[in-house]
């Protein structure tokens, strides 16, 4: 038993994880828990899950993100997209550092090689770094605050943190949090140029989605953020290094992906689990996932 903390614990933010999905293309058996492996796809086969309409111009990260949200929301394959007014109480927070770099790099090369008429207006949304969050909002009719976090290795848990802030501030009743990175050639080049990642750990395309609601509103595993006075000895921790050997590095997706794994552990009967993400350059963040 840990000794009681001598000082009053600082306020802790919490939220319930009412749904989640991990979407990691090509994961080897044994890397992710079997129950979490699904039809993970990022190419044209994403249409098998999402339906064909509207996918053509989407980049790899956006397709991965849409698949993860589709699965987290429990929608059947090729279910018709929601219609009607957007839900103003449903927010979207995306964490991604490299999601649109391929589009930006492509446009830069096209303009240099062939001049301005060579670029396609279809690529216009991808020139802006918030393209994924906007696409999720449109696809699933989510009209609440819409954020994209690009803070590097901490971005995944920063996104969870900001999602909790949206709930606490009464800006949303439900937040769809997505961590996602692609693995195209430009993204891989940038990943290799990170100072904060050990050499030789490859970038891995992945998406993960958590649906967060106020902790008191739902019967589901709970995440807690804040300072973990008295909790430093929580028995297990998911860290990026734990998956690096099998999975590679998922960078901005890592915090959300690891939180999803911890939620799966807790749902499987496990005790409180710490989740840690970050690197020596960008800093470190952590949270706790516990049973209700």
């Amino acid at each position: 038993m840990a000794a009681p903390s001598p000082a009053p614990a600082p306020p802790v933010m919490s939220a319930a994880v009412t749904a989640y999905a991990l979407h990691v293309p090509g994961d080897k058996p044994g890397t992710l828990p079997a129950a979490l492996r699904g039809p993970a796809c990022d190419g044209p086969e994403a249409a098998e899950l999402l339906g064909r309409k509207g996918l053509l111009a989407k980049d790899q990260a956006t397709r991965l993100a849409l698949c993860a949200v589709h699965r987290a929301l429990g929608r059947p394959p090729r279910a018709p997209r929601p219609t009607g007014p957007a839900d103003p109480g449903a927010a979207v927070v995306v964490s991604s550092n490299l999601g649109n770099v391929a589009t930006v790099a492509k446009i830069a090369r096209e303009t240099l090689d062939q001049g301005p008429r060579a670029v396609s207006p279809m690529d216009a949304p991808g020139a802006s770094s918030n393209v994924i969050a906007g696409a999720i909002a449109i696809w699933f009719r989510l009209g609440g605050p819409n954020l994209t976090v690009c803070s590097g290795a901490t971005a995944g848990l920063d996104a969870v943190r900001l999602a909790c802030l949206l709930l606490r501030a009464g800006r949303a009743r439900r937040v769809v949090v997505v961590g996602v990175e692609p693995d195209d050639a430009d993204a891989a080049l940038l990943h290799a140029a990170r100072a904060g990642v050990p050499p030789g750990v490859p970038l891995r395309a992945a998406a993960a989605c958590l649906v967060l609601e106020p902790a008191e509103a739902a019967r589901a595993p709970v995440i807690e953020l804040g300072r973990f006075a008295g909790r430093e000895d929580a028995p297990a921790a998911w860290t990026p290094g734990e998956l690096a050997g099998d999975l590679g590095d998922t960078y901005g997706a890592a915090g959300v992906l690891l939180t999803g794994l911890a939620v799966a552990d807790v749902e499987g009967g496990g005790g409180p689990t710490r989740v840690i993400c970050g690197d020596p350059e960008d800093g470190r963040r952590e949270l706790l996932v516990r049973p209700r």
């Binding site: 957007a86 103003p88 550092n97 770099v101 930006v104 790099a105 492509k106 446009i107 830069a108 090369r109 096209e110 303009t111 240099l112 001049g115 301005p116 008429r117 670029v119 396609s120 207006p121 690529d123 216009a124 949304p125 020139a127 802006s128 770094s129 918030n130 393209v131 969050a133 906007g134 696409a135 909002a137 449109i138 009719r141 989510l142 009209g143 609440g144 605050p145 819409n146 954020l147 994209t148 976090v149 690009c150 803070s151 590097g152 920063d158 900001l162 802030l165 949206l166 606490r168 800006r171 430009d186 080049l189 940038l190 140029a193 990170r194 100072a195 904060g196 350059e281 960008d282 800093g283």
Partner: protein, 379 residues
């Protein structure tokens, strides 16, 4: 609960905050032939650049770092002494470096794409630095979350930043979709449409609004309060705005601020000069202020400073603070004949107008349908 705007700092094509506000009052236009970009690549010849005699990489970071130091000094806030978080809104991050890499011109540490290291170096003691990509309303979203952090006791002060330099890719897209090339931005103009990018950075320091006066100990108190910022996402189209989504953000701002549209004396509109934004925004404003007689004065800064993307909301905010302090509203630079949708709006034209108004609305909308509307008030 309102928070206090304790300090701000600006970089635009005109220079610092006072220089930029003076240019607005003169209805100047800062657009020039582009010097740091090659029109043969982007198809765009004009823009509102910050002219650097010796342009290096990572210009958006450098401007932001300068603004952060200045704004914190103006506010009297020492990040080493108080829990100070930073939230930076940006449309394009440091994507100019990615574009240079793509054509073989640069190698750099990927961490430089976001603003954590730039701010940690510029303002020692700063806590967490969040980089939010939110297109042209990113700064407004940062402002909203900053107020939440203070209200919920998670930070003692927040440095809110917005910064963007031009990218070839965004210029090329703007050029590609323009009906005809343009040489300047004319917000709410009926005859001339088209947006041009601006470059700029803004930093604003928020602190708790302490009526007991301890704000003095916590930082030199500014004269203006941030009442609240409303957020919404259209969830309708990736690049075209929707007036119902815009209205939701406006109404959210009034709900959070505890004010009614009739309280507002001045609106700093988003006003991009495009055929998509301006009619949608004018329609939303007409609906919001439909019951108000005579309704607020409406101005917009982009005719003077261009579209500064992630910095845009905070640049309008900083100019609105200058305006409140001076009791004056700058005119819309470049406006000749207003759009039919804006016929009922009291657009400020040609020359500044004096006003005793104490409550100001600031609009910002962006790609992805992301909307942020802030309300500020003279203290």
């Amino acid at each position: 609960m309102p928070v206090r705007i304790a300090g701000s700092a600006v970089r635009s094509c005109f220079g610092d905050g006072p220089a930029t506000f003076a240019a607005l009052l003169r209805a100047e236009c800062g657009a020039r032939p582009l010097r740091h970009q090659d029109p043969a690549r982007s198809g765009v010849e004009y823009g509102y650049e910050i002219h650097d005699p010796t342009p290096g990489p990572f210009r958006a970071s450098a401007w932001l770092a300068d603004c952060a130091r200045e704004a914190l000094a103006a506010a009297g806030v020492d990040p080493a002494a108080r829990r100070t978080t930073a939230i930076v809104g940006t449309g394009l991050r440091e994507l100019p470096a990615v574009e240079a890499m793509a054509v073989g011109e640069a190698r750099f540490r990927t961490e430089s794409l976001h603003f954590g290291a730039a701010l940690a170096g510029a303002v020692p003691g700063i806590g967490e630095v969040h980089t939010l990509a939110g297109a042209c309303s990113a700064g407004g979203h940062a402002l909203a979350l900053a107020q939440d952090l203070i209200e919920l006791g998670e930070a003692d002060a927040v440095l809110v930043g917005g910064t963007d330099a031009m990218t070839v890719s965004m210029l090329a897209m703007i050029g590609r979709v323009a009906e005809t090339p343009t040489t300047r931005v004319r917000p709410f103009d009926a005859d001339d449409h088209g947006v041009l990018l601006g470059e700029g950075a803004v930093a604003v320091v928020l602190v708790p609004d302490d009526p007991a006066g301890s704000a003095g100990a916590a930082g030199r108190a500014g004269h203006v309060r941030l009442l609240g910022t409303g957020l919404s996402c259209d969830a309708w189209h990736e690049t075209a705005p929707d007036h119902t989504g815009i209205l939701r953000a406006m109404r959210d701002a009034f709900d959070r601020a505890g004010r009614a549209p009739g309280d507002v004396g001045v609106v700093y509109a988003h006003g991009t000069g495009t055929a998509l934004n301006d009619p949608a925004e004018a329609r939303a404003l007409a609906e919001l202020f439909g019951e108000c007689d005579p309704g607020p004065l409406v101005t917009a800064v982009k005719g003077a400073v261009g579209h500064t993307s992630g910095g845009s909301a905070l640049l309008s905010l900083a100019m609105a603070v200058h305006g409140l302090e001076a009791g004056v509203v700058p005119p819309v630079s470049g406006l000749r004949r207003p759009l039919p949708e804006a016929a009922g709006l009291r657009l400020v034209r040609d020359a500044p107008m004096r006003t005793a108004a104490s409550t100001v609305q600031i609009d910002a909308f962006g790609f992805g349908g992301v909307n942020a509307v802030a309300l500020i008030e003279a203290a």
